[in-house]
Symmetry: C2
Subunit: 107 residues, 2 copies
């Protein structure tokens, strides 16, 4: 990005609105390590209620970021995975773990 | 990140809590193009009220992400810039513009 210049098109604003919704970024981050069941996501983010997680998963499905997949085995299982769109966003958010361990330790 | 595994330490959670606060990610993104006056940030993000922008800038200062600098020239000017910590986070968020123009056009 050029010094002083900023590219603030509506798409960029919409993206920050998306990841700037509580828990959304973290859910994408968690799913970028591979498909997960609802209960797995829930146990990885214990502070997030099931109600809000359900809401966020629906929003992420609507945005084409998450795909809900039913595995036709017995017992039938449902997993959530990132679409191509979602995994590209997950790749961007991935380096946040290094940043966090460098800069958020002290607080 | 290894498939299936996820590194969800408290620092990562705290970081997503930070950027998952409405407008915060966008403010960091805007400042990563260089120091800006309050009024410049405000005009770049017109949907964000002055009251909320003031609040977010204070939070970002407290987190050591933004520095408020008074330029001792006449007329005295105040600019906001990213600290080292903030600019490292800004670099991570930078590629969001490419992602957004690829994937958010249709909506």
């Amino acid at each position: 990005m050029m010094e002083g210049q900023v590219d603030l098109c509506p798409e960029v604003e919409k993206t920050f609105e998306l990841i700037g919704k509580r828990w959304t970024g973290l859910i994408i981050y968690v799913l970028s390590s591979g498909p997960k069941r609802f209960s797995e996501i829930n146990s990885l983010i214990p502070d997030l209620s099931k109600r809000v997680l359900t809401e966020r998963m629906k929003e992420l499905e609507e945005h084409g970021i998450v795909l809900r997949q039913v595995i036709p085995e017995r017992p039938i299982r449902t997993v959530y995975l990132l679409t191509k769109k979602g995994s590209e966003l997950g790749k961007i958010l991935g380096p946040i773990s290094q940043w966090a361990s460098c800069w958020m330790k002290e607080k």
